[in-house]
């Protein structure tokens, strides 16, 4: 009988960046924020961030985890420090739901967050192998750092709300 992998469970909060070189399940819930999951299969190193906004108003924020333009390069640096090689890294991108579409309209932070994630990863030459972004709903994301697999769950709006 195969024994189940014992995962260390890590809850990722807003502005957090976590890199693991061991079996871990990193969990977060996203609305308009974005999580980028990076994985180096050969070294089995995985990392994930959870940023709020595309970029700081000034040149540098002092809180790099909150801004995509700083959080993604920082995630890549920490992956490299844990033994991953940038040339082998692949990315999966989640979030950017315009949850408050009725309040914020089309020019939402969520859309700009998605754009900055794609742009940063393109500049860093890290391929995006999976993406579930946009829409008008939240997402729960579970990232398994030993396999690079990701589970994404959304609330079934139609199950509870009719005629909208």
């Amino acid at each position: 009988m195969r024994s189940a992998v014992q995962y260390r469970w890590v809850n990722l909060g807003i502005g957090d960046i976590v890199v693991m070189a061991a079996s871990a399940r990193i969990t977060t819930v996203l609305g308009s924020c974005i999580s980028v999951c990076l994985f180096d299969e050969e070294r089995a190193v995985g990392g994930m961030n959870h940023f709020m906004l595309p970029a700081p108003m000034g040149s540098r924020s002092g809180t790099p985890g909150r801004f995509g333009s700083e959080s993604i390069p920082e995630l890549v640096r920490r992956m490299a420090a844990a033994g991953a090689r940038r040339g082998r890294m692949v990315a999966k991108v989640f979030g950017g739901g315009n949850v408050l579409a009725e309040l914020s309209g089309a020019g939402s932070v969520a859309g700009r967050n998605i754009e900055v994630a794609r742009h940063c990863l393109l500049e860093l030459h890290i391929p995006v192998v999976a993406e579930d972004t946009g829409g008008s709903h939240g997402r729960k994301v579970d990232f398994f750092t030993d396999s690079g697999k990701v589970l994404v769950r959304a609330v079934e709006h139609q199950r509870f709300v009719m005629n909208r």
Partner: protein, 204 residues
Amino acid sequence: MEREAAMPVKSGSALREALERGVQQAVRAAELLTGRPVRMTLARMEAVPADAIFEGRFRADSPLAMVVLRIHDQGGGFLLLMMDEDSARALNALLWGGVPGAGGSLTADGISALKELANIVGSSFLNALADAAHVALRPSEPIFLYDMLAAVIETLLVEQGIDTDRILLIGTSLACADADVCLDFLFLPSQALIEAVLGPLGDA
């Protein structure tokens, strides 16, 4: 990582007294809406860090029925009414004489009733705070959401540019006819709103 602990709002504080007046106003408005006697109590009120909200009755990924009121004045902020599905159905029955849709889902009429309730109770809280602090606080039209709690809260924080460690949790218990319903409100003020309203009340 160390985090600030939750801070209960002291009894006898100007903020608590203002919100208790808000409850009284809300009861009168809810009785007009339902046509029946309503009891409502302020069960819990504390300033909590954003992530501590998920250590109470609801988890971060709990799917909840929520109504959001945006506050336009004094730098802005949000008031969020949240309840679980059972409470939403119970309120629907109370407010609308409600027959849930297929599978116990909420109909458009039920959602409209919840928005109306959030509007009158939320406006009662805001009016009481505004009167006590001698400022204007006008809410937006209510917006109904059914989603994971953390997804909505983080989006509200992002929209408002609110720092994540000053959220006022107002837990209320509402009883009408045979139904007891727990309604939680979250007050997410901007820094300017904290200074304009909570500062004068001695709780900033």
